[in-house]
Every structure is written in C-alpha cells, then in structure tokens.
C-alpha cells in the first residue's frame, strides 16, 4: 500500500495546477469557458484524491459512503437546479447565495471537529493551540460569510430594507459589541477547545448581519466580492483544521483573488473599501454635505415619439445602459430597438461603464444574453473620444456614471469618478422613471443641459413605445 501516498500527492499537485490555470484562464474572454471547466475538473480530481487516499489507508465504511453520497446528491442537485433556473439579472444574488453556503460548509466542519475532538485532522502534529485557532478562524469567517451573504442576497432581492437604526451611530455600538463577544468566545476556545463555540458562531453571525445591513444596494456587489474572498479564507482555515494543504492553497488563492477583484470594483466606483464598509449608504451623508446639490432649472422632457424622430435622422447612436435597464429587464426590448436601427444602417454601439449594471461585467452578461454582439460593447476609455462625433446618445437607467459633475465640479462628492462624456454628443436622451436622484443622491447636471431631453417612464415600456414609433416611421423596414 505504499503507492497510495505518492498517488494522492500527484493528484493534489495536478489539482492545484489546474485550479491555478483555471483562475488564470478565467481572466481572458477566449479561454474563460475552458478555464471554468478546467477548474471544475480540478475539483473532481481533488475529491477523488481524498476518497482514494482514505479508502487505501484507513478505509471508508459503508456508513460513511451513504452519508457522502446523500450529501453530494442533495447539495449537487439543488445547486444544479438553482443554477439552471435563475434569471441572468439575479446573478449577484445567486453568487451571494452560493458563497454563503460555502462559508456555512467551512463553519460546520470546524464545528464538527471542535465538538468531537477525537476525529482530529489527518496530521496529529498540528498543535492544540494551532488547531483551536484554526477552528476559531473557520467559525468566525464562515459565520460572517454566511450571514453576510444571506443579508446581501435578501437586500438585492428587495426582501429586506435598511432599518433606520443601522444608519445611526447605534450600529457601530452593535458591531463593536458583537466583535467583543467574538473575541471573548475566541479566548475561551483557545483555552480549552470547546467552550465559547456557540458564542463565536452567534456573535459572528450577528456581526455579519450588522456590517452588511447598512450597506446600500449599489455597494452590495463590492460586499459580495469581499465575502467571496472571505469564503476562501474560511476554506483555508478549514484546511488547517483537517490538515489539508490542497484546501489551504485553493482557499488562499480564492481569498487573494477575491480581494483584488473587490479593489477593482471599488476603483470603478471611486469608493474606498473603508467607506463602503463603514460609511453606510453614500446618499444619506453626502446630500447634506454641500456641493453637488441644487435644483434643476432647465429640464426638457419629451415623448418616445420625438425620440424616435431624432433617432431616425441619426447616423451614429451610442447606448448607455445602466442599473435601471437591468432592473426593468429591458435588455431584450433594447436589442429589438437596436436591430431596427441597424437595419436602417445606423451605427449602434454600447458604452459600458466599468460598474454598469449591478456588478462589474454584469451588463456585458445581460446584453450578451439579449444577443448583442460582443464587438459592439465598448469600454469607457475606448468610447469616450467618440461622443463628440455622435448624433444621439440614449441613456437607459444610468445616472451617476454620466454626471459631468465628476469632471467639472470640484466640490461634488462624485468629483474624480471616471464617467462617460455623453454631454459631448449632439443630442442626449435620458430614459428615467422620475426625477429622483441617482444612487449617490446627487443632482445630475447632465439633465439641465440644452442638448439633453428626458423621456420619463420605465425603461422597458419606453423602449417598447420607441420600437412601435420607429416601426410606424418605417425605420429599418427594408424596401
């Protein structure tokens, strides 16, 4: 039976290699899909490695097999079902849900080992202090990941609103109290390995809720990305608990990658991670802080009919899709409108702000789902020089990302955020439900400009009307 250890070792190495290649490949459009499969194969290999090694050394009892198979089937089936059923617009929520479950899994492992110390990790050289500390980290991070992810999902789904106390100073008190309780539980656990377990789990869960609940909807993706990073940390901690280096590598990779991704998202929104986590909703503080305020003086509103007439005469049109488009699920209607325009030989491109939609890259996914050719999606730096040569810009449910204040007004809270220069175009139509402020709560100077017209209404309905008008005008109907 001497060949078992080397074989297991080789499998683990191969799995790590494939995982690393997978993450690497996921960062390029061409290789992303294969990379995802590669990572999936790596996971299967890794699981096989554990089963093979255990069967060969200590043996796996029939009883264990039954529990393994039932856990696998139930979890796997539900996961597959969820993945197939969920609409593309709900992607951030679903990532949060999956992520929370990963955290819960790490938590349960640590709990199991802590409650029944007889089943210690495969390597008994792990000292008691190290083991208890790993259990502590695994419980703490796992619980925060789980409760935080579930709150994030519920908030994105609109099941949970933001209670007023979470916007006051009281929340800091609450969170600090929870953190202190976690520490007390941790100290108990480090001393004797059992006491304080449930204190840690409960206090950490409350901390996860207390930290996530005050965060506004548009910041949620950052939080989800951060929690994704945490679940990697939790997995690495679980690796210390059961003595698996493969787990530690994979967990560390995901943890580090998640941090980078979180940072990238923050940069795109011109927000620091600290202000996302501790600042509460931006809107509540910045509106009163002066700068960027003021009333609208020169709003022009128009009907879809007028909008259609202008579009008919255009040669170059740029679409700026935003959060509102995703909420109204109007991407398919939008695609029909652009098809009509394309048939009339009007050049249509899409300007994608780095944080358009609900997560970076989410808008690309939504538009891809609606059959928009990938080549028509232009990133901000590419499209910005093109606005002056553009006849019509159609802003759909985007607000802060097209606010010229970010460039012109040094007192504005948005100042410095990269924005799309839509005001350079000849005509700008802004489709919006009402005059309510954007996520940031800041007045948008764009709406006051001479060349901007507002088309009020739900993005899907407006686009539907626009489509009818265009067809009535005979735009794009060949012949």
């Amino acid at each position: 039976m001497t060949f078992i250890a080397p074989v297991k070792f080789a499998i683990d190495l191969l799995a790590v290699l494939l995982l690393a290649l997978g993450i690497k490949g996921l960062s390029k459009v061409r290789s992303a899909r294969e990379a995802n499969r590669l990572a999936a194969i790596a996971m299967i290999l890794a699981a096989f490695g554990v089963l093979f090694n255990s069967q060969g050394t200590i043996g796996i009892s029939l009883n264990s097999w039954i529990w393994i198979i039932s856990g696998t089937l139930i979890g796997g089936f539900l996961g597959a079902l969820t993945a197939k059923r969920v609409p593309m617009t709900a992607m951030p929520e679903i990532v949060a849900l999956f992520n929370g479950c990963g955290g819960m899994s790490s938590l349960l492992v640590a709990l199991g080992v802590a409650l029944f110390p007889s089943v210690e990790g495969s390597d008994s050289s792990v000292g008691e202090l190290v083991r208890n500390f790993s259990i502590f980290v695994s419980l703490f991070v796992g619980a925060i990941t789980f409760s935080g992810s579930i709150v994030a999902m519920a908030k994105l789904q609109g099941w949970l609103s933001t209670p007023s106390w979470t916007q006051s100073k009281a929340r800091h008190f609450f969170n600090i109290l929870c953190a202190v309780l976690v520490l007390i539980g941790g100290i108990y656990l480090l001393i004797d390995g059992q006491n304080g377990l449930f204190l840690i789990v409960v206090a950490s869960s409350l901390l996860g809720i207390g930290v996530t609940l005050p965060i506004g909807g548009a910041d949620m993706p950052v939080v989800i990305s951060l929690l994704n990073s945490y679940s990697g940390v939790a997995a690495a901690a679980a690796g210390f608990v059961v003595g698996s280096q493969l787990l530690i590598v994979a967990g560390a990779m995901v943890g580090a990658a998640g941090l980078i991704l979180t940072q990238v998202m923050c940069d795109g929104m011109n927000r620091s991670l600290v202000s996302v986590l501790f600042g509460g909703a931006l809107g509540s503080s910045s509106v009163t802080s002066g700068g960027g305020g003021g009333e609208y003086t020169n709003i022009t509103s128009c009907s879809p009919e007028e909008c259609a007439l202008t579009l008919e005469a255009a040669e170059k049109v740029i679409i700026v899709p935003g959060y509102g488009l995703a909420v109204a699920q109007a991407q398919h209607t939008l695609r029909e409108v652009t098809r009509v325009l394309e048939n009339a030989d009007i050049e249509v491109t899409y300007a994608i702000h780095p944080v358009a939609g609900r997560m970076p890259g989410h808008m690309n996914v939504l538009l891809a789902e609606a059959d928009v050719p990938y080549e028509q999606l232009k990133e901000m730096d590419v499209i910005n020089p093109e606005f002056p040569a553009t006849d019509v810009v159609l802003v759909l449910g985007a607000n802060d990302v097209v606010n010229p204040q970010a460039k012109n007004d040094e007192t504005s809270p948005l100042y410095g955020m990269p924005v799309l220069d839509v005001q350079e175009a000849r005509t700008v139509f802004v489709v919006k439900r009402g005059m309510s402020a954007g996520y940031s709560g800041i007045k948008n100077d764009l709406f006051d400009l001479q060349n901007t017209s507002m088309v009020f209404g739900d993005a899907k309905k407006v686009l539907g009307d626009l489509l009818l008008e265009l067809k009535e005008l005979g735009v794009g109907s060949k012949g």
């Binding site: 996921l26 996971m43 996961g79 349960l108 199991g112 409650l115 939790a234 530690i248 967990g251 995901v254």
Partner: protein, 97 residues
Amino acid sequence: MSFFSEALWVLLLGSLLGLELIGKVPPTLHTPLMSGANAISGITMLAALTLIIKSGDNLPLLIIGSISLGFALFNVIGGFLVTDRMLAMFSRKKTRK
C-alpha cells in the same frame, strides 16, 4: 518541517499566486470570474469529506459532515454551472460572427 510551518508556507505562496493570477482582467469578465472563484471556494467540500470519513459510527458527526458536504456541493456545482451559463453567452457570439 512540521505540518504547521509547511502549511504556513503553502498559505503564503497560495495567496501570492492568487494576487498574481487576477492581475489584469477585462471588466467584462469580472462577474464570471467572481462566480468561478466562488465555486472554487467550495473546495471546503474536501474538509467535509474528510470529516465524514473519519467520523466512523459517530452519528451526529456524520450528519454535520453530510450537511456540510451538501452546502459545499451546492456552492461548487451551482457555481460552476452558473459561470458556464454566463460564459456560454460570450462564446456563442464569438462563433457566430
């Protein structure tokens, strides 16, 4: 070298690798990447497997392990499938052009 110091090296190098791998990603892929990385974090299923295998006839432990395994696989399988669904949309566009 003890498991612990070895494991710390593994942790350090794994973290550095993770930082390097994600260096330059086009924004298009941030969501799929997040989802894919999320699926990989379900690797904690290995810990759940180990727990079940080592628990022998300890029923509460078997149950905890099995639930843990279920949660992890929900994460892994759901995560990979959903990522694939997103990426399929990009590649479909590519081939048709």
